[in-house]
Amino acid sequence: MYALAVENLSVAYDKKTVLENACVTVPQGHLAAIIGPNGAGKSTFLKAILNQLPNKVGKVEILGKAFEPKSLVVGYVPQRNAVDWGFPTNALDIVLMGRYGHMGLLKRPSKQDKLIAQQALASVGMQDFAERSIGQLSGGQQQRVFLARALAQNADIYFLDEPFAGVDAATEKTIIDILKALKVQGKSIFVVHHDLQTVKEYFDYTILLNKTILASGATEDVFTPEQLQKTYGGKLFMMQHV
């Protein structure tokens, strides 16, 4: 059974095609990078997988089933700048949101929910900031809080949209260590990633995307100069690092 199986996935906004006939299958237990140039449709690809886009066509299966929000199999970490960090609440409260799916409607967080949230905060090194207003956290700390929320959800498959964008080096290390630990536990992780220099070090699986899936497989097979040239075209200036 595949962690993710996508068949002929297409998405169009205002008649402009963002994603066309994307096909990919990824086995379980990988830490996979989704890479491609700006505007290649990476965030759209994630949102379409999570059934957030009404105008998509094609078939998506996660662990052999169509995406079902209530099953809580999938943990999603949006781009940090997708939310309003001036929202009046504290870090622990954001992490507790990861438990909402488990609580059900109309219920309040139990002691155990709070304990799980605190553990999740501790695992990203943020236990001392539980009561801190989220607006007063640095970008890296905000990203850690987001990751802690996903951990508190205790999903089987994680999708992260650019978790390393605009974070400090210490946060980047914390996040990648946690993602690697999740992989060791047998979970599957998909990360939209920008920094080509760290792909080989961080990810054992790579998906190349530009309007459609151009290649996917073990990083050492896919992350080659030829494939990258195909994905990025003339936009690739970092070949010397690859």
Partner: protein
């Protein structure tokens, strides 16, 4: 006794709008509230034309439907590629104009004139009494209490869902929260609030009550619960200050209440900036020493 009921009505408007306004501010929907406060007129007139009475219940139903229609049409235009503010502008002026036309055509001789709907008249509230379970109170007070209970119930039931759907709607949808239902339920509660506040402050000034106290409390709140408490307090305070200033200067009560809302906002804003500057200066001093 008359003065008492006017103040009670003002307090209830302040509290009810203060509560409803919190998520309006957090969801960045102030302009939608402005639109709804006008389009409910259309709903109320339709309710009158269909039932031929000025019954409060049917007014609420008509207003709720008009509010939902407004939110739906704005969404529809927006998703078809029109900017959201333009969509709001088009929808609310059209529905409001339809309401005005319907009043002049079919409801010319009833107590439903445009000026009353726009400006309200809180001083007349005590004369329109209504009895239930042996309690006699002004109709406006009954209506405000009823809507306050509905709003509070909605918030108590769906507090955590509203919080997450507001903060991070994409994640909320990804774990299966009913974000569309919450959106329209919330729009309904805004429509109810607008109708309940109609008699006292009217459609234009209800916007001040919906937005002002919540915007003021947003400046100084660290949690949403705090924001609710401050917002209610500011709303109630503005109502009382407005009433007494209006009495003192013999001017429009509703106008003075809205002015008090603006005044409170300015005071808190300036106070907050001063404290912030002082704190920064203090931190700077600490860094030097």
């Amino acid at each position: 006794m008359i003065e008492f009921w006017v103040i009670v009505t003002g307090l209830l408007v302040g509290i009810t709008c203060g509560i409803a306004g919190v998520f309006l501010i957090l969801r960045k929907m102030a302009m939608i509230a402005d639109a709804i406060s006008h389009t409910v007129l259309f709903g109320i007139v339709m309710a009158y034309i269909l039932t031929q009475t000025l019954n409060g219940f049917w007014m609420l139903v008509g207003a709720a439907l008009a509010g939902i229609l407004t939110a739906y049409l704005v969404q529809l235009l927006h998703s078809s590629g029109i900017q959201e503010d333009a969509a709001i502008g088009v929808v609310f002026t059209s529905l409001f104009a339809a309401g005005v036309l319907l009043i002049t055509l079919f409801a010319g001789n009833v107590h439903l004139d445009v000026e009353h709907v726009l400006m309200g008249e809180i001083a007349f509230v005590p004369w329109n009494q209504w009895s239930l379970l042996g309690i006699t109170m002004p109709k406006a007070v009954w209506m405000l209490l009823f809507v306050l209970i509905i709003n509070v119930t909605f918030l108590v039931l769906f507090f955590k869902e509203m919080k997450l759907a507001t903060f991070d709607p994409v994640y909320a949808a990804s774990i299966g929260l009913p974000i569309v239902f919450l959106h329209y339920a919330f729009m309904t509660s805004i429509s109810f609030t607008t109708v309940a506040a109609f008699d006292s402050v009217g459609a234009i000034l209800v916007v001040a009550m919906l937005i002002g106290p919540a915007a003021t409390s947003y400046l100084i709140s660290k949690t949403i619960k705090q924001m609710f408490i401050y917002s209610m307090l500011f709303g109630a305070l503005a109502a009382v200050i407005g009433y007494y200033l209006a009495k003192l200067w013999d001017t429009s009560i509703a106008g003075m209440m809205a002015a008090a809302v603006g005044m409170l906002f300015m005071i808190v804003l300036i106070g907050q900036k001063l404290i912030e500057r002082k704190r920064k200066a203090h931190m700077h001093k600490l860094e030097i020493t």
